[in-house]
């Protein structure tokens, strides 16, 4: 097992690639399932492919400083596009593949991309459709040729053809020497990649990260989680998201582990089971969906299986986390847990593809304590991290054995964290960005004078020195009474219920807090089915009085939780409405990373907000929706506004909390 220090002098990713090809030429570097079969490339093969690819790209005219857009899902050739571009000193810019043409046009134009590498016809079509808005875009490459045969190929090339051309060119020894020199010409201060932020707050910004910074950050975390070249990962997160670039690219190239690309986005679950990754990341949403599905399926299982499942789940709940944390546990409990592992946890993890997981992370949103404990109780080392694109992901992360659902862990090695007077989290980290592309004024805004980066998140350290995040700093507001109102905190409380998919809380400068709620179609649908409640659509199901009753119960329960926390007790949800449509990124209501855009929603559904506060019971709405093909339609309906049960603050600390918040 080779350690990261084997290649301590490699300061760019293409140089790391060469080191791995030298140190572990036959170890798998990349896998991809194609036509039903897993194909594997060793480090030596991967380096040969990337070298030929870089040669081919330079033959097409790609040169140092050019920007290359990468559009598509997780495919070996798209990861290698990033490597090949960096090899030549060009700057790769991954773009969210599911963004609509207009968003893509903005990013491509802003990033000044002259090359674009697309996965397939769908993405090529999208790129061609925005050609007028992206005048700099000269050349488009594609990975999968299907459907593209009859296209005009003057500026369009197949990746395979480019690689072939590169191979031919490399037969010329002078050119081969030049290519090698190009790789060595790169240095740690080069911009290694530009990642566009998801745009939770307005237009996305191009975050510039250096090669040296990325590698330093990845080295720290590879050591922190003891990742080695024996690890294996399934790459299924969006290429343009910092987490994907961090784990499947930076950490993979530092630790030298194998990255497996799924057959398609729909087969991820099957592929996960076949690969059995040892290191895994998923946003809380994924874990939540999995749990919901497990529970729904268990409802349909035979009585014996159901009883066994619930019995051993109870055992796991009591002892699982303690065993995982290495605490003292009575022998009987240990034995019971072992049996549970044979009958329930093992098979369950196997079905999910989690059997071999050593370290798993979740981040991006707060995770429900029950949900979090569920997976940990099964023996999965699930941890939380806190980070952002500007930091090149990691700022804090749980240490093995010191894990809690409410915190995001202590600062990582070499990361410095400070809280501003207003409670905003500021940090300085080895991987932190050097600036936003073409937006120096925004860079200045984001940095403090002494070089710390403002996260925009409000948080505090608890007694153990672990960071707790409350909400976006600018979202933490006050009710009219002056009590603290943290919308996201409330929303998360609501979303911890499986029946609630999304919630948007309001209350800034109001007398009390209110919420709009999206039900979870599969969970509530299943619940309704079991009760013989008929419905034909989301809209109809959402409007059922029984569903209102169900959700009202959850809101009351969430309020009880809030009432127990002195700082939050005042902001209990008084009134709520179940929305007639699911919030959707295509309608601009959510970001591509599935975060709600509260301001936009408040504007779009202004009549509902009025109704939430003026005491009326019904409200008429009609909303424009965008279908996947870009056409628009209108959904309209009459929604009911419901009162929710609130609770008296459990502690008499509300007054004190007010002082604290002020």
């Amino acid at each position: 097992m080779a350690q990261a220090s084997d290649h301590a002098h490699a300061d760019t990713f293409p140089k790391l690639l060469a080191e791995h090809a030298r140190l572990r030429p036959t170890r798998p570097a990349m896998r991809h399932k194609d036509l039903g079969i897993w194909r594997t490339w060793s480090w030596a093969e991967a380096q040969a492919e990337v070298r030929a690819y870089a040669a081919g790209l330079s033959d097409l005219g790609l040169k140092r400083g050019d920007h290359v857009a990468v559009v598509g899902a997780n495919r070996p050739w798209l990861y290698w596009t990033i490597l090949a571009a960096q090899w030549l000193g060009a700057i790769p810019v991954p773009v969210y593949a599911d963004s609509v043409a207009e968003e893509m046009a903005y990013v491509l134009d802003h990033a000044e991309a002259s090359f674009a590498v697309a996965q397939d016809q769908e993405q090529v079509d999208k790129l061609l459709s925005i050609r007028e808005k992206t005048p700099r875009l000269r050349t488009i490459l594609y990975d999968e040729p299907r459907g593209l045969r009859d296209y005009d190929h003057t500026h369009l090339h197949a990746v395979a053809g480019v690689v072939e051309r590169g191979r031919e060119r490399l037969k010329d020894p002078d050119f081969a020497r030049w290519i090698e020199a190009e790789r060595l010409a790169g240095g740690p201060d080069d911009i290694s990649i530009m990642l566009y932020t998801s745009g939770t707050t307005g237009r996305s910004k191009g975050v510039m990260l250096t090669a040296g910074g990325c590698i330093a950050a990845a080295r720290d975390t590879v050591a922190f989680d003891k990742l080695t070249d024996q690890d294996e990962l399934l790459a299924y997160l969006p290429l343009a998201w910092v987490g994907d670039h961090y784990m499947n690219y930076a950490q993979a190239l530092v630790a030298g582990f194998c990255v497996a690309c799924p057959e398609s986005a729909e087969t991820v679950e099957i592929d996960l089971r076949e690969i059995g990754p040892t290191y895994y990341f998923a946003p809380p949403r994924v874990f939540e969906n999995l749990l919901t599905r497990i529970l729904i399926r268990m409802e349909d299982a035979s009585k014996l299986k159901r009883r066994m499942f619930h019995h051993y789940l109870e055992v796991a709940r009591r002892w699982g986390e303690k065993i995982l944390n290495g605490e003292e546990v009575p022998f009987g409990a240990r034995l019971s847990y072992k049996l549970g592992n044979i009958f329930v946890y093992g098979p369950l993890k196997n079905v999910l593809g989690f059997s071999r997981i050593r370290t798993a992370y979740t981040a991006g949103e707060a995770i429900g304590p029950e949900l979090f404990s569920f997976y940990r109780a099964l023996g999965m080392n699930l941890k939380q991290l806190y980070g952002q694109t500007e930091a090149f992901l990691f700022v804090t992360a749980h240490k093995d054995g010191h894990v809690g659902a409410k915190t995001v862990g202590p600062p990582l090695p070499n990361v410095e964290i400070r809280l501003s007077d207003a409670g905003e989290v500021l940090y300085k980290s080895p991987g932190q960005f050097v600036g936003y592309f073409k937006e120096p004024e925004k860079t200045v805004e984001t940095m403090t004078e002494d070089g710390f980066v403002r996260t925009g998140d409000a948080g505090f350290f608890d007694a153990k020195g672990e960071l707790n995040i409350i909400d976006r700093a600018k979202d933490v507001g006050k009710l009219r009474s002056g009590e603290l109102f943290a919308p996201k905190y409330i929303e998360n409380r609501l979303k911890f219920f499986a029946h609630i998919k999304e919630a948007v809380a309001f209350g800034q400068d109001r007398d009390h807090a209110t919420a709009m709620i999206n039900i979870d179609m599969s969970a509530v649908g299943d619940w309704a089915e079991r009760r013989g409640i008929a419905y034909a659509s989301y809209q109809e199901l959402a409007a059922r009085p029984e569903v209102y009753e169900l959700i009202a119960g959850h809101v009351a329960e969430a309020n009880r939780g809030l009432s127990e926390e002195p700082r939050m007790a005042a902001a209990q949800v008084k009134r709520f409405v179940i929305l007639h449509k699911e919030l959707d990124a295509d309608d601009g209501e959510m970001t591509r990373t599935q975060k709600v855009r509260r301001g936009f929603i408040a504007e779009r559904y202004a009549p509902i907000i009025t109704a939430l506060y003026d005491g009326s019971d019904l409200v008429d709405v009609s909303t424009e929706v965008t279908f996947e093909d870009g056409r628009k339609g209108v959904i309209s309906g009459r929604l009911r506004v419901e009162e929710a049960k609130t609770h008296a603050p459990a502690h008499a600390g509300a007054a004190g909390a007010r002082k604290e918040a002020a």
């Binding site: 194609d34 036509l35 459907g147 057959e263 729909e266 093909d629």
Partner: protein
């Protein structure tokens, strides 16, 4: 009709394909069941490489026509010639071995078998080894199966049904079942593909996908396609030529624009409102 089709949607762009020789010719075919006349003296042809639509109101004899073409029904009068050779009576399996494949209006798959196995069934005609060899998990039959599996995997890739490869088709939603059925027909590597309402009961997105598959099949693999479809928008966008039936009679035949303008078609099928 819809955005994703614009790249191919213009039939004139593909008209070169449709100028091929006649692949199948139906001359004066009549078919009746007892006293009911399903088809009366209908003639038309299908040219190599074209997408040919058969439309008409309910009970116009469209499905009967397809059944006649693939030998399931035998017309009382008239003649059908395929690849220039006239044929009198033909069994469906003979049609299949000559390169005619079809899908059905009501999905006809083996519900308990996986999508993969269902598509493998489409390769049966191409399997050469007998039962004895197939019982062994080694040797020529195995090699043969691997080769066939490769073809089937290409089809699975083409139809983007990787995720349901191992799922029993009975558990699949209707739109996907239709896709598997198309896959099985494709596994025969047909020269002429008969599609009976390939888009019935689908939502907009599934329809668009299906359109794309049909167009890709035609343009990239050169499969000649005859399809029955009720969605007029789809038919007009998709097909090179359209034949219109009403009560078993042919009332129009031509390129979509001609057919659309034909007053008899407007009366009979599109309705006065159009």
């Amino acid at each position: 009709m819809t955005a994703p089709l614009t790249l191919y949607g213009d039939p004139s762009a593909r008209s070169s394909l449709a100028r091929g020789e006649t692949l199948l010719k139906v001359s004066d075919v009549s078919l009746s069941f007892g006293g009911v006349k399903a088809i009366t003296k209908v003639s038309f042809d299908i040219r190599k490489g074209e997408i040919r639509a058969i439309i008409g109101p309910n009970g116009a004899g469209k499905t009967s026509m397809l059944n006649v073409i693939n030998g399931f029904y035998h017309p009382q009068q008239g003649e059908i010639s395929y690849r220039g050779a006239a044929r009198a009576r033909m069994k469906p399996y003979q049609a299949a071995s000559q390169g005619i494949a079809r899908t059905f209006q009501n999905v006809a798959l083996f519900k308990g078998m996986s999508a993969l196995d269902n598509i493998m069934v489409g390769r049966t005609l191409k399997m050469k080894r007998g039962l004895f060899w197939q019982m062994l998990r080694k040797g020529p039959a195995m090699d043969e199966e691997v080769a066939h599996r490769r073809v089937v995997e290409d089809i699975i890739d083409f139809l983007q049904i990787e995720a349901i490869r191992k799922t029993p088709v009975g558990k699949l939603p209707y739109g996907l079942q239709k896709r598997v059925e198309l896959g099985r027909a494709l596994a025969m590597e047909p020269e002429l593909l008969l599609l009976d309402e390939p888009m019935a009961g689908m939502n907009l997105e599934e329809k668009e996908d299906m359109c794309r598959y049909i167009l890709d099949l035609n343009s990239q693999f050169g499969v000649t396609i005859a399809l029955i479809e009720h969605d007029i928008g789809v038919v007009m966008d998709l097909s090179d030529r359209v034949v219109v039936l009403e009560y078993g009679h042919k009332i129009a035949d031509g390129v979509p624009d001609e057919v659309k303008a034909d007053p008899r078609v407007i009366d009979a099928y599109l309705g006065v409102a159009h």
